[in-house]
């Protein structure tokens, strides 16, 4: 049932043949314009109501977004982001029935460096994105993916963006279809296009150093799947940091159901089953202080494309690593081809996958030490000796035994008490306390503190999926700064804990 041959015509649908000139199933009067949800035909008006209702219900029934809350909306320029933006605008407008009441801020992360866009293409893309963001009327920010390697700077980014968003007046003529009142500015009056179009490239403060660093790190990952995972982890971290620094309490993303179904299967294929539930849920709570929401979760990509077409929304197409690639370029690309092909023949595929995914539930990580340092997902490495993880470790050891005389090894589980690990207990250079004063705030600057952390130590803080990515890199220590900081912090804590172990009361 699940096999699809290369040249098989995907017309063997399970449902009955379509009758031409079908009427809408809701109002039964207007001619239908779209078939969705297995075999339901909608007319234009009913489709609009259907989409709006589903969007509002997704946000409303979970009661997670409160009135006046600041929400960061991630806009990538693609069709789902544009649809999300439009739905938010409509939902916030005065005319809306029971209008939405949160305060959105938009953010665009420039990932042109990932695919190596030329300067010309880059400028064109940025110009279009900029006009898209500006026309929305909401405060917006632009940053680069490389900024995730230099998180300190994220705080300062606001300073130059807020000037532009303060003069953010709505361009009346451009909004003929979608007139919406901007709750921030409040006036639809005089039109002024702030003459910023030509200088939009200056709106992103290019961080050349970080760019170089990022290029080096990305280049050292060999497989495209690994690169995609790495980019995704950086993107998540950047969104998280940006939201924290600028006072947002939630982040909203535009992933559609079809994309999330692909995501679920890809996660399971790449050893990220622990995070599969988080990545596809409506509310991603992997970070306790910041929630990532996905209100378009119940929409298929077809519905979104139709919505965009009806409203003539301009999307900006930005190529990714696997655009124009072979089917097997990356695991995600292959999975996408599989799911899309299956969906064409069996229209309930995506909803089945999503429904099954909903039943997964991962235990939420409580303390900071049980997060993966790279992707912030829960650590899933506290497993027994006969697990795939143990096998991976073993083979790594065996294969590097000749190189370093068996000194390298990775600790078994994450805690200080290494009860699981029988292979070896070596691997921590940090422990030498001869010169360090013992304080964990880095003030003594002894040479052991500055020594390069052992690879095993770094890998210990990563989840299984991220370990695979990190091990592809030539040097694990070239991971982003935020990862290395986390590693150092955890190590200091475990050293400190070991020191005061005798004084701790065991409350188990």
């Amino acid at each position: 049932m699940c096999s699809i041959l290369e040249d098989e015509i995907p017309l063997a649908k399970e449902r009955k043949l379509n009758i031409l000139d079908r009427k809408c199933m809701k109002c039964k009067e207007e001619p239908a314009i779209l078939i969705t949800r297995v075999n339901d035909a909608f007319c234009r008006g009913c489709f609009q109501v259907y989409v709006t209702h589903k969007f509002r219900a997704a946000i409303g029934k979970t009661k997670l977004v409160r009135d006046g809350e600041k929400v960061l909306v991630g806009i990538s320029g693609g069709p789902s982001s544009c649809a999300l933006l439009h739905l938010i605008q409509e939902g916030l407008s005065q005319r809306a029935h029971k209008k939405l009441r949160f305060k959105p801020g938009l953010i665009f992360i420039d990932e042109g460096q990932v695919v190596g866009q030329s300067l010309e293409e880059h400028k064109v893309t940025l110009t279009r994105i900029h006009s898209l963001l500006r026309q929305s009327g909401f405060p917006y920010h632009l940053c680069q993916l490389a900024d995730s390697l230099d998180l300190e700077r994220v705080k300062t980014l606001n300073a130059c963006q807020s000037n532009h968003s303060a003069v953010n007046k709505i361009n009346q003529s451009a909004m003929d279809i979608n007139t919406c009142s901007n709750p921030v500015e409040g006036d639809k009056g005089d039109v002024e296009i702030s003459g910023q179009d030509e200088n939009c490239c200056d709106l992103i403060e290019m961080n050349r150093e970080a760019e170089k660093l990022f290029a080096a790190q990305l280049g050292s990952i060999r497989s495209i799947s690994g690169k995609e995972d790495f980019v995704r982890a950086l993107r998540h971290r950047l969104l998280l940091e940006f939201a924290r620094q600028h006072g947002y309490s939630k982040v909203m993303l535009g992933n559609t159901g079809s994309q999330l179904a692909v995501r679920l299967l890809t996660d399971i294929s790449t050893g990220r089953g622990m995070q599969a539930a988080l990545e596809t849920a409506f509310a991603d709570r992997r970070n306790t202080d910041m929630m990532f929401l996905r209100p378009l979760r119940d929409f298929s990509s077809k519905e979104i494309a139709m919505y965009n077409n009806l409203h003539r929304l301009e999307c900006v197409f930005i190529p990714s690593l696997t655009t124009m690639g072979d089917v097997g370029a990356s695991i995600e690309h292959l999975t996408e081809a599989f799911v899309t092909g299956l969906q064409a023949e069996y229209p309930s595929t995506v909803s089945n996958i999503m429904r099954t995914g909903e039943k997964l539930d991962s235990s939420s990580a409580v303390d900071l030490e049980s997060h993966c340092a790279l992707c912030q997902g829960p650590l899933d490495t506290d497993v027994g000796m006969s697990s795939a993880l143990a096998a991976l470790r073993f083979s790594l050891e065996i294969s590097t035994m000749g190189k370093t005389n068996g000194e390298r090894c990775i600790k078994g589980d994450n805690s200080v008490n290494n009860t699981n690990d029988e292979l070896c207990s070596n691997g921590v250079n940090y422990d030498a306390k001869v010169e360090c004063c013992g304080k964990s705030d880095g003030s003594c600057r002894s040479s052991t503190q500055l020594s390069v952390p052992d690879e095993g130590l770094v890998l210990q803080t990563l989840c299984y999926g991220c370990r695979i990515v990190a091990m592809e890199m030539d040097d694990v220590n070239s991971l982003p700064e935020f990862v290395m900081k986390d590693v150092a912090w955890r190590n200091r804590r475990s050293v400190m804990k070991a020191e005061i172990q005798d004084f701790l009361l065991d409350d188990r």
């Binding site: 314009i33 779209l34 990538s76 789902s80 535009g254 559609t256 079809s258 139709m306 197409f317």
Partner: protein, 99 residues
Amino acid sequence: MPLPICIEFGGGAELLFGKVKTHEVNLPDKEASWTIKDLLTWMKDNMLKERPELFIQGETVRPGILVLVNDADWELMGELAYNIQENDRIVFISTLHGG
């Protein structure tokens, strides 16, 4: 008489057609009327610049490409069997690579 129609691309599909989103074409004369199936064959021979397998699979479009005829889903018009009328607007939107 040649049949004038408008073909548009979206969602990245334009990359396969010289990065041009809107094409006004005149389909050459034929005794039988033009169906979408004929159009696809014609596009493959005349318009597709590269990588035909990313657009066409077998006799129909690749899964993931949404086809709209005058703003309506082509499934409601008969899919491949729809007879193209003069000045029809046919849109091919790639729904892969969301965002």
